[in-house]
Structures are given as structure tokens and as C-alpha cells.
């Protein structure tokens, strides 16, 4: 099979996206309610954050606005996984029912085709919320705003997103081996709630675990240090783009390995 170029995949993605949006629009009430639900989630997350930290000038050497910055950073970096990889949640049903076999017969990349089938617009509300939070805390901390900073910000946001995408891919792929993978996926999804706290609050043992075993700290903490504390950026922060790409590739391999082993249900 001839390898297809990026342009080809981009054109295909747009076509599938248009189909997906059309089918979503036919369930308009559901779409509106889900969007409101997503907004509720973000507002309640923000209220919880405000209740916890409003009365303390700083937690563990982190000021209120720095914590807010971390929170906003995690919201924005979680948007791609929500928007582009939401179909991972349905994977176990496709595998279980045998419908997954239909993806195996397309002459394009299996992983790409599967993920492109669903685009979750709800994630865009979270993106707007996250950008708002970031901009607000950015101004309050008094960080400089230069093109270089913006570039750094974008690079490290993508890095952080890749980590979460990798975690979710790997968790979703477990359904190729175990029956009820919902709990594994749910566990990985809950990691995002812990990403918004600075890792320095943990004891050294857990700092190590959350950095190397379950890389939660890479979803917001390490990447955002580059912007937040430019004078004392640890090596791990600079390395995080590499980690992001590596993690993503590993998760992609696991996912594809599971998919190629998939033998259908026989129906």
C-alpha cells in the first residue's frame, strides 16, 4: 500500500468531520444539554478551586494566581483529548460487539480513521474557559507577553496534551485484552483532576511516582514552569516535549498492536 501524505489525511479528516457534525446536529437537544453540562463542570471546578484557595495567600510557595495559572493550563491542555480522541470511550463497545472490524478494512491508517470519526465540540467550551483563566492569571501575575513566550506556551501546551492523549489511548487500548475496560479509562480520566496541583505539595516518593510511573505532573506542572518560573526551570520541563512525543508513540504502538491482534467476534 502506498503511504499517504499529510495533505491527504487532512482532506479526509475535514470530510469525516463534516459528516460527524451533521449527524450531531440532528440530535440538537442532546447537543445543547451536553454543552450546558460541560459548562457546569467547568464552573463547578472553578468554584471548588476558589473555595479552597481564596482564603490563603499562598500554598506551599505558590500564590493564588500561580495556582490559577496551573488550573487554566491544565484545562487548555486537556482540550485536544476531549475534542479529537473522544471516540476512545466507545472503543470497548465496538470491540465487544464486533463492529470494530469495519475499521480494519479501510485503506487508511486504522488509528487515524477510528479517532477521526468523532469530534467533540463540547471541548471548545472548556478551551474558551481555560484560555480565559490563563489570560486572567497571566495578567495578574504580571508576566511579560512576547512572541517568544507565546511560542513557548503553545509548544508546551501541545506537549502537555500529548501526555494526556497518550494516557487515554493506552487506557482505552486495554479493552483489546480485558472485557470491562471502562474502569481503567475512567481511572486515567480522573488523572486530569490531579494535574492542576503543583507537584511540590507531595512527598518525594509520590513526586517520583507522579513524574515517572503515572506522569500526571507532565499534564500541567512541568510544562507550565517554563512560563511561570522562567528563572528556575528544571531539566524535566525542558525534556517534557520529548517525553510527550515518546509517550504518544508508545501509546500509539500499544493501541495498534491491540487492534491488529483483534480477531473480531465472528459475526
Amino acid at each position: 500500500m502506498k503511504r499517504k501524505g499529510l495533505g491527504f489525511y487532512f482532506r479526509i479528516y475535514c470530510k469525516i468531520l463534516a459528516q460527524d457534525l451533521k449527524s450531531k446536529m440532528s440530535y440538537r437537544a442532546d447537543f445543547i444539554i451536553s454543552t450546558i453540562g460541560m459548562i457546569f463542570t467547568n464552573i463547578s471546578g472553578f468554584i471548588s478551586f476558589w473555595i479552597l484557595f481564596r482564603s490563603f495567600p499562598s500554598i506551599n510557595g505558590w500564590s493564588y494566581y500561580e495556582m490559577l495559572f496551573l488550573y487554566g493550563f491544565s484545562l487548555v491542555s486537556l482540550t485536544p483529548v476531549q475534542c479529537f480522541f473522544d471516540n476512545n470511550w466507545s472503543l470497548r463497545q465496538y470491540v465487544y460487539s464486533g463492529d470494530f472490524i469495519k475499521y480494519c478494512f479501510r485503506p487508511i491508517n486504522l488509528f487515524f480513521y477510528y479517532q477521526s470519526e468523532v469530534f467533540d465540540i463540547k471541548g471548545l467550551g472548556q478551551l474558551a474557559f481555560g484560555i480565559g483563566t490563563l489570560a486572567y492569571s497571566w495578567a495578574k501575575i504580571g508576566l511579560a507577553f512576547t512572541p517568544l513566550m507565546l511560542l513557548k506556551m503553545i509548544v508546551f501546551l501541545i506537549t502537555a496534551s500529548l501526555i494526556m492523549i497518550a494516557l487515554q489511548n493506552a487506557a482505552a487500548a486495554t479493552c483489546f485484552w480485558i472485557q470491562n475496560s471502562f474502569y481503567v479509562l475512567d481511572l486515567a480520566f480522573r488523572f486530569k483532576d490531579y494535574a492542576k496541583y503543583p507537584i511540590t505539595i507531595f512527598s518525594p516518593v509520590f513526586r517520583f511516582i507522579f513524574t515517572f510511573v503515572m506522569p500526571i505532573a507532565f499534564i500541567a506542572y512541568y510544562p507550565s514552569l517554563v512560563i511561570l518560573r522562567p528563572d528556575e526551570v528544571p531539566l524535566l520541563s525542558w525534556l517534557s516535549p520529548v517525553f510527550g512525543v515518546v509517550f504518544f508513540l508508545i501509546s500509539y504502538r500499544i493501541w495498534m498492536y491491540g487492534a491488529t491482534k483483534y480477531s473480531g467476534t465472528g459475526s
Binding site: S34, G37, M38
Partner: protein
């Protein structure tokens, strides 16, 4: 004779829930992870506050509260909204409505088996560990009895709210959005994620007038109160009883009215 049909449902529920052992293991890992994060987060908060008692709660009070709130959550979360929503979408609800048992009761009792397994496998061990580790921070006396009464009413209120929200699915046929809204509101306003004692003033008063705080805050504050005043206990339990009755009537009434609206696609 009447009780026997309910207990049969309970038994089936116990057997069903024992099937998913892997799910339980993953859930326990998830909860431990959550508690680790909570522990270090609140430790940092107490360290930065400079005092031992914040909003009338010591660090160990807060920790016991949050640990037991998590255990209670596992125990009480019945996924009623999902259950009703899915039955409506698949048409299974028609078969359930034909059963010679009221739907609201049928759903509750078919879940009750999980109450028993959850109680013995998660809540009780958690409670014993917490009581042992904190060396008498939990006063073991009459408050245990009040706690049990309070939890029973909390289960009832929680179920009524769930059922009420699940009924909305009859109109919208949207499950995810409705469920996430309910979950977010209940978890925040019931004090399951942050003790209500930490809420700022106007919000705190408002929350005390809502039914949600009767689900988590009421039983846990009764349990943690070492020297209970008869008056406070009576007010707390009385409020719960009131909400118990109000929510039950509301959810029954709403279900009865809504049932006339039902449209089922096949089945």
C-alpha cells in the same frame, strides 16, 4: 411474601456485583490515588494557614470527613440516571413498566445488592482503618447510631434526586449531559468534595437550605461531632427527614406525570 420479591432482587444484585472483580480492584486503586492527592493537598493547605484549626475543623477531622465521603460516594452512587436513560433509549423500559412492581421500587431493589457488597467491601473496611489509624478521632458512642440513621435517609434522598433527574431523560433522551449536571451539582453542594464548613458565608447559608447537604454533610458532621448536643442532632436529622419526604413525593409525582409523555422507539 411481599418482602420476598424484593430480597430476590437484592440477591441477584449481590451475585451480579461479585462478577466484576477486576472493576473493583481498579476502583480501589483509583480511590487510593484520590485519597493520596487529597491528603497532600489538605496538608499543604493546613501548613500554609498557620493554625491547627481551619473553619472549626482540624486536619484529621477534614481528612476523616473526605475519606468517609469518598467511601459513602462509592456506596451511594447508583447510576440511576444512566440506568433509566439507557432503558428509555433501548426500549427496555417498556418491559420494566409491565412488571407487577412499581418501577421506582424495582430499580431501587435491583440495585440494593450492590449496597450490601459495597458496604462490606468498601465502606466498612475504610471506616475501620480510619478509626484505627486516627486513634479515637472518631468518637465511638451514640453518634454511631445517629450516623446510621442519617445514612439511611441520605441514601433515600440521593435516590429520590437521582430518580427525579432520571425522569427528565423521558423528555430529553439525553443522558450524558443531564447526568453530568446532576453529578457536578450534587458533589459540590453536598460537601462531598469540600466540607461545607469551608464555604464562604453567603454560599454556606444558601447550601444549608438546599437538599444536597443532607446527603454527605449531614451524616458526616453527625459522626465527627464528639460531643453531640441533642438539639443539633435533632435539627440535622429533622432536616433530613423533611427532605426525605419532600423529595420522595416530588420524584413520585414527577414520574407519574411524565409517564404519560413516554414515547418508546421499538423495544
Amino acid at each position: 411474601m411481599k418482602l420476598k420479591k424484593y430480597l430476590t432482587l437484592t440477591r441477584a444484585g449481590i451475585i451480579e456485583s461479585l462478577q466484576f472483580r477486576l472493576a473493583t480492584v481498579v476502583m480501589v486503586i483509583g480511590n487510593i490515588l484520590y485519597l493520596i492527592v487529597v491528603y497532600f493537598l489538605w496538608k499543604a493547605i493546613y501548613a500554609s494557614s498557620g493554625t491547627d484549626i481551619v473553619n472549626g475543623m482540624t486536619f484529621s477531622d477534614t481528612l476523616i470527613y473526605l475519606v468517609l465521603a469518598t467511601a459513602l460516594f462509592n456506596f451511594m452512587e447508583m447510576y440511576t440516571v444512566w440506568e433509566i436513560g439507557r432503558s428509555i433509549q433501548s426500549g427496555k423500559i417498556v418491559l420494566d413498566l409491565l412488571k407487577p412492581i412499581e418501577y421506582r421500587r424495582y430499580l431501587f431493589w435491583s440495585y440494593s445488592g450492590s449496597f450490601i457488597t459495597q458496604f462490606f467491601f468498601t465502606f466498612l473496611p475504610t471506616f475501620i482503618i480510619v478509626a484505627a489509624v486516627t486513634h479515637g478521632a472518631i468518637h465511638l458512642g451514640l453518634n454511631l447510631l445517629f450516623f446510621v440513621i442519617s445514612v439511611v435517609m441520605a441514601v433515600s434522598i440521593n435516590y429520590s434526586i437521582d430518580f427525579l433527574v432520571g425522569t427528565i431523560c423521558l423528555y430529553t433522551e439525553s443522558i450524558w449531559g443531564i447526568n453530568i449536571m446532576k453529578q457536578v451539582i450534587v458533589l459540590l453542594l453536598s460537601g462531598a468534595t469540600i466540607p461545607i464548613a469551608f464555604f464562604p458565608e453567603p454560599l454556606k447559608t444558601i447550601v444549608y437550605y438546599l437538599p444536597f447537604q443532607s446527603i454527605y454533610n449531614a451524616p458526616l458532621s453527625i459522626l465527627l461531632d464528639g460531643t453531640p448536643q441533642p438539639q443539633t442532632v435533632l435539627v440535622t436529622l429533622g432536616t433530613q427527614l423533611l427532605w426525605c419526604i419532600v423529595m420522595m413525593i416530588l420524584s413520585r409525582l414527577f414520574w407519574k406525570i411524565s409517564l404519560r409523555q413516554i414515547t418508546v422507539n421499538g423495544g
